[in-house]
């Protein structure tokens, strides 16, 4: 069975916010059931096993970015480097799963080139974070989010409210948004469409 490749910009010990803790809770038990690979930002490029998961860390190539939109573009270049290596090492992947908009572009690039289905977990959006799209920077982030959401095969959210928000504000087809409580059992069931 080819692995599910998770792409994220944070995972313990590299902790920025709650995302790394959420993934730290769900992914290790999931890795005991299906082959799982993690691609994550780190201090330098390298492959190791963390919490029983084969992990491809990618170092940050470009240190200076004027703002978060530009940062996300170059971060995803690093994530593409790590995820491409992971895909070639495994001889392919059954599914790509990106977490949050910051690491979604890498998932989109890889899904398009390798024809692998892409799932994006959406924890928040520029609209929920900034409350309103009033600056050019917010517009730029919103447009990248929208670009990624529309190219994903499925989106995962934690609440019906977020699902309504994505369909209303990002024109996402409601049929491709799944509301999942954050447990590895739920995720495993969700993966059955692609992972057998």
């Amino acid at each position: 069975m080819k692995p599910v490749i998770h792409i994220t910009w944070e995972y313990s010990p590299y902790v920025v916010g709650a995302l790394s803790q959420e993934l730290g809770r769900i992914l290790p038990p999931l890795a005991k059931t299906i082959p799982l690979v993690l691609v994550v930002k780190g201090d330098a490029d390298g492959v190791s096993v963390i919490d029983g998961i084969k992990t491809y860390k990618v170092g940050q190539s470009v240190r200076t970015s004027p703002h978060v939109l530009i940062y996300s573009h170059v971060l995803n270049l690093d994530l593409v480097r790590g995820a491409s290596t992971a895909i070639y090492d495994a001889g392919g992947a059954s599914l790509l799963h990106s977490h949050d908009w910051l690491s979604s572009l890498a998932g989109v690039y890889l899904a398009l080139h390798f024809a692998i289905p892409l799932v994006i977990s959406v924890y928040s959006t520029e609209i929920t974070r900034a409350h309103a799209i009033t600056s050019l920077l917010s517009m730029g982030i919103y447009d990248v989010e929208r670009y990624c959401f529309q190219r994903a095969e499925a989106l995962v959210v934690a609440s019906e409210e977020m699902k309504r928000h994505l369909t209303k504000d990002y024109s996402v087809d409601a049929g491709k948004v799944s509301v999942l409580k954050g447990t590895h059992d739920n995720l495993l069931g969700f993966y059955r469409r692609w992972v057998r």
Binding site: P66, L77, V80, R81, S84, Y109, L112, L136
Partner: protein
């Protein structure tokens, strides 16, 4: 051999020398039997798919998204270029130009496991004379990343080789120097021109062609004009840029406003005619990776005076095919300008020898050298283990 060329500018969307370079190189490579596909920019006014001189051109439109600044715009353009590359036929090698298409080239390299070649036309440090803010530092770091990720680097002059190897820490054995080509026909035939629209019959024309930005040194020519005080000279400034209001004010301040005429951008035919009518063409750059304008002037039979900097320094031999002045010195420029305008034998010698100089710069030779770089890199790639595994 199949080449995926990625460039942010390509006709009809040409911003500077890079677009012309990619156009001439691509069509000459095709003429030599190389399969070239170009991914480039469109604003919607040119077709998304096109074939020009045997080159397959596909264009992406970044205006479907919004951006807070130019660097974000460039990253958005590259994002769409990576997407477009996914639906194209296979290729053997990827060739990008400058930091502007570095992100797409690097992403496609890792995804497809095909070798990446980069032509570095100039660097941010060179263009800005230093790195003073996060935008400039970001571009510099992208340039470093490109020079690191590329299997081979092409520069247009030995000056640029030194700059890339020192500023970007790139090993010299990765870098090949391939001068740009020159085509007599690139500016087209001279358009009919009434000389009296530009200068009095008694005035000789001193021509400047270039963007009006500090690195091109137009202020040095205005300073030299005020120091020279030769009322038989008329200075025609072709080109536009952020320095224009400053330069116009400078001509008033220095008392040469009636001798310096700002023409802005002019069509190629008019520019060709101006080169033919010019008594001398002056290129006072403080930074110039190559200097194609000097070749255009030589081709039109105008004697040239250039600053001894960058690629210009390598094209011109002082007193043989033109004159060189000390970079940044308007005194030195004024001295050499006076010499050129006063010495008929020198002018004739420079014009004659300049025609021979042009023979060193052809797109055919540039394409041959580029193919040799492709072959060397593909040879190393074939002998290595870094390839797609499925």
């Amino acid at each position: 051999m199949r080449v995926l060329m990625i460039s942010w500018e390509y006709p009809p969307h040409v911003v500077g020398g890079l677009g012309r370079h990619v156009f001439h190189l691509s069509k000459t490579l095709v003429a030599k039997g190389i399969n070239v596909k170009v991914i480039t920019f469109t604003d919607g006014s040119s077709p998304a798919e096109d074939r020009m001189n045997g080159v397959e051109v596909v264009r992406v439109n970044p205006y479907s998204l919004r951006y807070p600044d130019f660097i974000s715009w460039i990253h958005g353009l590259n994002m769409l270029m990576v997407e477009r590359a996914a639906s194209m036929d296979d290729f053997d090698i990827i060739h990008v130009h400058d930091w502007l298409t570095a992100p797409s080239g690097i992403a496609v390299k890792h995804i497809t496991r095909r070798p990446l070649i980069a032509t570095i036309h100039s660097t941010e440090t060179g263009r800005r004379g230093g790195l003073r803010n996060d935008h400039e530092r970001h571009i510099h770091e992208l340039e470093w990343l490109l020079s690191y990720e590329a299997w081979g680097i092409i520069c247009c002059s030995h000056y640029m080789l030194r700059e890339v190897s020192t500023n970007l820490g790139c090993p010299r054995d990765k870098i090949a120097v391939i001068p740009n080509g020159y085509e007599q026909a690139c500016l087209g035939s001279p358009a009919p021109l009434n000389r009296r629209n530009y200068a009095e019959d008694s005035e000789k024309i001193v021509l400047y062609v270039g963007r009006l930005v500090h690195e091109k040194g137009p202020h040095l020519l205005v300073e030299a004009a005020s120091k020279l005080r030769r009322w038989d000279l008329k200075y025609l400034i072709v080109g536009d840029g952020a320095m224009r209001p400053y330069l116009v004010d400078m001509t008033r301040r220095l008392g040469v406003a009636d001798k310096v005429y700002f023409l802005g951008h002019v069509p190629d035919g008019e520019l060709s005619a101006l080169y033919h009518r010019a008594s001398v063409a002056v290129f006072p750059s403080l930074y110039e990776p190559f200097g194609i304008v000097a070749l255009e002037a030589m081709g039109a039979g105008a004697p040239v005076i250039v600053s001894g900097v960058g690629g210009l320094d390598e094209i011109v031999q002082h007193g043989h095919n033109g004159l060189k002045f000390i970079p940044g010195s308007s005194d030195s420029l004024a001295y050499n300008l006076n010499w050129m305008m006063s010495d008929g034998a020198l002018r004739e010698r420079c014009i004659r020898n300049a025609r021979q100089t042009l023979g060193r710069f052809s797109w055919g030779a540039a394409a041959d050298d580029t193919i040799n770089v492709y072959k060397r890199v593909l040879g190393e790639y074939e002998g290595g283990a870094w390839k797609p595994t499925f």
